[in-house]
């Protein structure tokens, strides 16, 4: 092997070490703030299933999923898991980043680590995706178990690889979205993140209804294809509740994987530009 190749290999090894050290730091912080993490992850889906899967059936209200009497709770399971993934990924990356860019400048120490700047951004995506995966694991039992008698969701993971692929790519996409938002948003307007970005994404993300059932509103059905959350919910729907109508597996997975790669590429560029002036 030539010296240049050896040096290259040495550099890659060092990059991996630094990358893992940064990931170690983020896991350390997550462990320290795990209570906070749980609270912000659990509250929204817990309240949601409590009201819609427990209170509503009890008081005689209630939605029915469109597909042949399947309960609304079945529709909600993949939807709320996807929302948790999306919320956590975006929040975990974008919020600290905005603060680090504007107020604390903490990012500087990691940017000065002996690796290319884009690797620091990539670590943020991976750490954010990790939090999304944990959020999915935390939310799953809640949305599965909290419901009124007789309103149990019908959920069965019949294809584990597909399920895991959907979780992982959905998480990466959410975190990449977080990095993108974190690097382009004006810090003074961060409060708009919820009303302008997260709420529309959530309500128009096929969380409470399968995408196929938007057919009566074709303009909406095609418009929401711009929404990354749609592919997260549909990908999970295909693996968790395949009995409900769902987007073709190849389509949702392709959008998740391709979207993650494209968004990561773009956001790592904006991140690098933001850091090195």
């Amino acid at each position: 092997m030539s010296t240049a190749a050896l040096a290259q290999r040495g550099a890659r090894g060092e990059w991996a070490t630094t990358f893992l050290a940064m990931l170690g730091r983020d896991v350390r912080v997550l462990r320290r703030q795990f209570g906070q993490f749980l609270t912000r992850t659990i509250m929204q889906p817990l309240l949601f299933v409590f009201v819609f899967a427990y209170v509503f059936p009890k008081i005689g209200e209630g939605f029915r999923g469109g597909a042949g009497g399947t309960s609304f709770t079945t529709v909600l399971v993949p939807g709320l898991i996807a929302v948790a993934i999306n919320f956590q990924g975006i929040q975990a990356v974008a919020l600290p980043l905005v603060q680090e860019f504007s107020v604390s400048k903490e990012i500087e120490d990691r940017v000065l680590a002996p690796v290319p700047v884009w690797l620091v951004g990539l670590e943020k995506i991976v750490a954010g995706a990790l939090q999304s995966v944990i959020a999915a694991a935390v939310v799953f039992p809640i949305v599965y178990l909290v419901h009124a008698h007789g309103a149990a969701p019908v959920v069965h993971i019949h294809d584990w690889p597909l399920f895991l692929a959907a979780i992982v790519f959905a998480s990466l996409l959410a975190a990449a979205l977080g990095l993108f938002i974190g690097t382009v948003i004006d810090p003074r307007k961060i409060t708009l993140l919820f009303s302008v970005v997260l709420l529309p994404i959530t309500f128009l993300g096929c969380v409470y209804y399968p995408w196929a059932e938007l057919a009566p509103l074709p303009w909406l059905q095609y418009l929401v294809l711009l929404n990354p959350l749609v592919y997260m919910t549909e990908g999970l729907r295909a693996s968790l509740t395949p009995q409900l109508p769902h987007m073709a597996v190849w389509a949702s997975l392709l959008a998740l994987a391709g979207g993650s790669a494209a968004l990561a590429f773009v956001s790592l560029r904006t991140f690098t530009r933001r850091v090195r002036t």
């Binding site: 550099a11 060092e14 070490t17 630094t18 050290a21 940064m22 170690g24 730091r25 350390r28 912080v29 320290r32 703030q33 604390s104 400048k105 903490e106 990012i107 500087e108 120490d109 990691r110 940017v111 000065l112 680590a113 002996p114 690796v115 290319p116 850091v275 090195r276 002036t277």
Partner: protein
């Protein structure tokens, strides 16, 4: 001792050894502003040897932070190059970052971590194995008198302690050179003296240090060599004593009169010991190589031309008078 004793100097190592630790070639940064391009740094040439304590001195906006930003890879030069240990910072920023420690102007400590963890994870980012990183964090806390704060979160630290921790952190991966951007700005006088002692100590132990400062006395007290920066250019470069000799050997006597100071100029120039005189409205600035008796003589000459002296001040030779004679402007901090 395995190697046989020889009389000849280690000639083979000489060319590499002569490469300065930090070197810039025509370093330039142009920012596109609303009022057209701004040359924040304009063709700066620096050469800093290993073990040197080097100061970039200049008023606010002189281009110090932009220069240090380019030296530490966070600002990309518009033109020119930076070499650290002979490595081109543009071509291989990661290798340069490995060799330098940086203390920024603002507190960039990781607020989600404890004092100890700030040191530990920094070392880990630089590839120090976990066990060594733990030992290094302990050692640095002892050395920087922070051991009793090891478990504190960093936002509990005072400004002075935070600055000390930032210096400790910058050294955690044993860099060859330490860069500090305005390390004592916004810090109380006692803490500043403590930091000076700390930096002087590190320098004595052989560390190469480059700091920017707008405090003249800081540069004077600490640095082996200084580059005086103004409007992006190096105006003068040398040891403080040498700068005073070549550019500001003079005591500067400033006179404020109640009319056009220019009227007094020819008479002032004729006073023995006076080297140069500048008139600026009501201000007369007299550069005297031998100041004894000059002030009294000036006051006499002023009344002779019908001017009243409102105020008079005399500054002994200092970096301030150096700056004054280089730029014709007062140095304002």
């Amino acid at each position: 001792m395995g190697a046989p004793a020889t009389d000849s100097p280690p000639a083979a190592a000489a060319p590499a050894a002569r490469e300065p630790l930090i070197r810039t070639e025509h370093l330039t940064k142009v920012y596109e502003g609303r009022q057209g391009p701004l040359r924040a740094v304009d063709g700066v040439e620096l050469s800093i040897g290993a073990g040197e304590f080097f100061g970039l001195l200049g008023p606010n906006g002189a281009g110090k932070s932009t220069t240090i930003g380019m030296l530490t890879t966070s600002v990309i030069p518009t033109d020119g190059r930076v070499f650290v240990s002979g490595i081109d910072a543009r071509a291989n920023p990661a290798a340069v970052k490995r060799r330098i420690g940086v203390v920024s102007q603002s507190n960039t400590l990781d607020r989600a971590l404890t004092v100890w963890e700030n040191l530990y994870y920094h070392a880990r980012y630089f590839g120090v194995p976990a066990r060594d990183a733990r030992a290094r964090a302990d050692e640095l806390l002892e050395r920087f008198a922070l051991a009793d704060r090891a478990r504190s979160m960093v936002f509990e630290l005072s400004g002075g302690l935070a600055r000390r921790l930032m210096i400790a952190r910058a050294l955690a991966h044993r860099p060859a050179a330490l860069f500090l951007d305005e390390p004592t700005s916004g810090i109380d006088p006692q803490t500043r003296i403590n930091l000076w002692e700390l930096l002087a100590d590190l320098h004595r132990q052989g560390l190469t240090i480059l700091l920017t400062t707008h405090y003249l006395e800081e540069a004077d007290a600490l640095c082996d060599r200084i580059a005086i920066l103004d409007r992006g250019r190096v105006l003068a470069l040398g040891a403080p004593a040498q700068l005073k000799e070549t550019h500001g050997a003079d005591t500067v006597i400033t006179l404020q009169v109640d009319g056009e100071a220019a009227a007094l100029r020819p008479r002032a120039e004729a006073i023995p010991g006076v080297r140069n005189v500048e008139a600026d409205g009501e201000l007369l600035r007299v550069f005297a190589s031998n100041p004894i008796g000059v002030l009294a003589e000036l006051v006499r000459e002023a009344s002779a031309v019908g001017l009243h002296v409102r105020d008079a001040a005399s500054q002994p030779p200092s970096l301030e008078t150096v700056f004054l004679s280089l730029t014709g402007r007062e140095y304002r901090e």
